[in-house]
Point group: C2
Chain length 353, copies 2
DNA sequence: GTGAAAGCGCTAACAC
DNA sequence: GTGTTAGCGCTTTCAC
């Protein structure tokens, strides 16, 4: 109802304030070196005209975008049943906001999408990328490397070759798993089973390793691979009970899986924790606190993981500054081998074990 | 490791192909009118150089951004416990992707963020916006209106004045609620309680209205306001049982709330559905299928809602085309009153009622 | 059909 | 300190 045409430009503000475009630009960008009486006049003109800088024009010259891509490469529906994803986004969003950066969300479903994402990243729309949920055979890392976009990975990437300069943030999956299994063993359990996640993801593989660290020579039939979902947890639990009716504890790779296991145990008339003790991983509150009984689980601070990833990326970006790509390793942290930050986990005891 | 400097420009491609920049631009943008031998040469040069257009430069002249903002204004943690949010994003993402548009996610936490979002939208970074989770007193609609950005709202907005040209997509909350309550009544229940959502959201208010449509002269103590969370559902259920120990059915405003109610009922030794029948709303599978017993609930197709919103917005954008703002109502659907699309709901019967 | 040239709105040297 | 100027990479008239 108000403006008839396009938004005011720097030029307009300059005219109104009776100064040059450069001066307005300086004031708007907070660069000091504009004397007070003038600066105030400019600020006023900006206010009166409702001036907002045109980001496209600015990006064109600065080569900065104040935007970061978040790539979630999860073809399975899993992401959408698990609050995991939302929590990470929240952490990331908080950090980016504090840094005046925008969050561009790239969700991929299936292989075709990868080239789209690759093209987008290569297109120089964003200053950096945060990438999640990689599977071992994922083509994305290659595309990203070629795109030359500074990137921080969520979770330890699964490939080892060509990993120089890769930066990632992960939870101590192995250590956390070890702690959970030790806790079960400490309860006097000897037939501890494990329902793993999809083993082409490092988080799942690492948790399995943690389990094995403690149960070194356990019956291999005590391990069932699953997929981090509730339904998958049910399936795996049935399998395990059929194979090993004498199991007395289960360590599930995440809380959703654990909740599936709980349901099957109840179905079969087994009491938790009396007959079978159960532990999960994540401490996803809406899941872990609401199972019957509430779940003993390994807490990881998902939101903090998100924040940390963003912080790491932004720090790297600030260091290298804008301007043309430097070529070579474009990880924000320099070319000295893969550098990962591993966040600690803590065991949360509830009624299930 | 490959490129030493910045990415190739149109100029570079033109040089390589031995044509002018204009011609390359035409080929790249699929505008016909370039003869075949030439066009092919250009395509080859593009390929060889790995040319990707610079979006900032393009936007500067076209005033299109091929990006849409998704604003989720939910200060409460609720969004992060409920898969709702993820599902909508997925629907939106699919549709935007198909339209070669990017998704810029704007999460707000608390009031301070609103001005940030307003500024961003006003900044002309995006072609349009999809806005969710508005509460009655939300300042965002005003900001958006002033920003003049084409917008589609998710859920019926709560204000009525100045609502011309507003476009929204909603579920048939009232009708769905009515159906659920009728179902409970059809089961022979006479003391049907309702746990509502926060009544400053139209979805909650509409579901309450639907309940009242059927239970016109029910005891007002059979209604408790809650907040769409599991914990809130527990609290409200306790309240209701204390007030009306003789209730024989509960219609909860969403599945999460219903799951809280179920837990309290179990706690109190009441059998579901024998003593108390329970119905929810949403049909959020990870919740509704995993409660004990599984939940009878009203299904709404969240993902489709997201897709529809995106489609509506993009259609509007295509119609009005790029270029400077037209002024006045900037809703994509013309200035003829608020136009809403209301999606149907369906009752899903499971064991709880 | 194709090329030349004029900006889109902004920042960053460089003068003054 | 402040203004002048030259582009950033692209699209788009307008000639040819």
């Amino acid at each position: 109802m108000s403006d008839t045409a396009s938004r005011p430009t720097l030029e307009a503000v300059a005219a109104r304030a009776g100064v040059s475009r450069a001066t307005v630009s300086r004031v708007v960008n907070g660069s000091d070196g504009v004397r007070e009486p003038l600066a105030e006049r400019v600020r006023q003109a900006v206010e009166e005209l409702g001036y907002v800088p045109n980001q496209a024009a600015r990006s064109l010259v600065t080569r900065r975008h104040d935007a970061v891509a978040v790539v979630i490469a999860e073809p399975e529906a899993r992401v959408f049943a698990d609050p995991f994803f939302a929590l990470q986004l929240r952490g990331i969003s908080q950090e980016l906001t504090a840094h005046d950066s925008q969050l561009v969300l790239l969700l991929t479903e299936g292989r075709g999408d990868h080239t789209r994402v690759g093209r987008y990243l290569a297109g120089g729309h964003v200053d950096g990328a945060l990438v999640f949920s990689l599977h071992l055979d994922d083509p994305l890392p290659g595309l990203i490397r070629r795109a030359g976009v500074p990137t921080v990975f969520g979770g330890r990437p699964g490939w080892s070759d060509d990993a120089d300069g890769i930066v990632y943030v992960d939870s101590d999956n192995r250590g956390g798993a070890r702690e959970a299994v030790r806790h079960l063993v400490g309860l006097g359990r000897t037939r501890v089973a494990h329902i793993s996640g999809p083993l082409d993801q490092t988080s799942a593989a690492d948790r399995l390793d943690g389990y094995r660290d403690v149960m070194a020579d356990a019956d291999p039939r005590l391990v069932a691979e699953s997929d981090f979902t509730h339904a998958g947890g049910e399936r795996a639990m049935r399998e395990l009970l059929d194979r090993c009716p004498d199991l007395d504890a289960v360590f599930a790779a995440n809380d959703l899986t654990a909740s599936g296991a709980l349901r099957v145990l109840r179905e079969r008339g087994l009491r938790v924790p009396e007959d079978v003790a159960v532990a999960g991983f994540d401490d996803m509150l809406p899941v872990a606190e609401q199972t019957e009984p509430p779940l003993t689980t390994v807490r990881q601070d998902i939101e903090e993981m998100g924040r940390l990833m963003a912080r790491l990326l932004l720090r790297g970006l600030d260091r290298r500054g804008p301007g043309p790509r430097t070529g070579g390793q474009d990880a924000p942290d320099g070319p000295d081998g893969p550098s990962g930050i591993v966040l600690p986990t803590t065991l949360v005891r509830r009624a299930s074990a």
